[in-house]
């Protein structure tokens, strides 16, 4: 049981479907635009459940913490969110991208079954 299968780490939608079957509440974050040397391309996704479990990524790990916080909010209030991250951002010292790139991330709740 629960044998680690690295293939699953890339199948975000498949995992979301499993989580839904388990009755978990879920949000998904998607990279919708990048500038400069962003680590993950447009279309990359990070799924988050209401316990904070996550799969996938929207960066090299620099902004995932902030995205998870926003995703939890989205799970609560059902509102989608647009997040901008970059070195020019005021938050740069906190959650900016060390690589110098910029990304725009869209966060939405996935309705349950």
């Amino acid at each position: 049981m629960n044998k680690y299968d690295p293939r699953q780490q890339d199948d975000i939608l498949g995992r979301i479907a499993e989580w839904r079957r388990d009755g978990r509440r879920i949000a998904v974050a998607t990279v919708i635009k990048t500038w400069g040397s962003s680590p993950r391309p447009v279309g990359s996704q990070l799924a988050i459940d209401d316990s904070g479990a996550m799969i996938g990524s929207v960066s090299g790990g620099c902004i995932e913490g902030a995205v998870v916080r926003e995703a939890m909010q989205s799970i609560q209030d059902g509102q989608p969110r647009m997040l901008d991250f970059g070195v020019s951002d005021e938050q740069a010292w906190e959650v900016g991208l060390a690589c110098g790139g910029e990304v725009k991330v869209y966060v939405e709740r996935i309705e349950g079954q």
């Binding site: 939608l13 998904v28 919708i32 279309g43 939405e108 349950g112 079954q113």
Partner: protein, 235 residues
């Protein structure tokens, strides 16, 4: 995302149908677009539907030209067809699967293409040309022949070269490859075809073990897919 739309997205994915999810950035309404239909709560202009289909063809997600929608392309997995259920294939198949390829192994020799040697991998024991014709390789397919046996490799290559496969490679020494090209020339193929043929397969990284050879093939395939400069023939 509405439950119905998520279910529809998963159903298209299951059916290996290319599909794009279009999201209005103000408000978050969504629609799914395939080659034939558009469905969902978001009404789409003809221009947006056309753009979604163009992006599906180009496998390129992004913000629409009108600036107010995100078009997320969900294309079926890239495919890799390996001819020869040999030792290298046992390493190459799981590595390619990790890299996101749906792998099929073709080998008519019953003792090679066994579930025990390739757990969970799709196997075909058809003759390679028949197997490849049935699999209909397209521009999102890579084909690698690993048997060294002209009886098995050559028929596969003839089908491969007539397809739009983005990567075609054959294992074997330079001498073996030269003889292979001679045989294919007799079958009517020419230098233009041979320019698509990567032989000996893989980047020159000094690979010796089956795992290392698998890495070199996967690396070359990746470079070709992204149009990167081949690192071959460094010597």
């Amino acid at each position: 995302m509405k439950a119905e739309l998520f279910d529809a997205l998963m159903a298209y994915r299951e059916a290996k149908t290319p599909v794009a999810m279009v999201t209005r950035l103000e408000g978050g309404e969504q629609a799914l677009v395939t080659k034939d239909v558009a469905e969902g709560s978001l009404g789409l202009s003809d221009a947006l539907v056309t753009e979604a289909r163009t992006r599906m063809r180009d496998d390129r997600s992004g913000i629409s030209t009108d600036g107010s929608h995100f078009i997320h392309v969900h294309n079926p997995s890239l495919r890799m067809i390996i001819v020869g259920a040999v030792h290298i294939s046992q390493l190459l198949a799981p590595m390619a699967a990790l890299a996101g390829y749906a792998v099929t192994i073709v080998d008519p020799r019953a003792s090679f293409a066994t579930e025990e040697r390739f757990p969970g991998v799709e196997l075909s024991d058809d003759w390679p040309d028949e197997a490849l014709e049935a699999l209909q390789p397209d521009s999102r397919t890579a084909i690698v022949t690993l048997t060294h046996d002209p009886k098995l490799d050559d028929p596969a290559l003839q089908v491969a070269l007539r397809s739009e496969a983005f990567y075609i490679a054959c294992l074997g020494s330079k001498r073996t490859h030269a003889r292979r090209l001679d045989r294919l020339r007799e079958e009517g193929f020419n230098d233009k075809d041979f320019a698509r043929l990567h032989g000996p397969a893989g980047l020159d990284i000094g690979a010796v073990s089956p795992a290392e050879i698998a890495i070199s093939v996967l690396a070359e395939m990746t470079a070709v897919k992204h149009g990167a400069e081949p690192l071959k023939a460094a010597a």
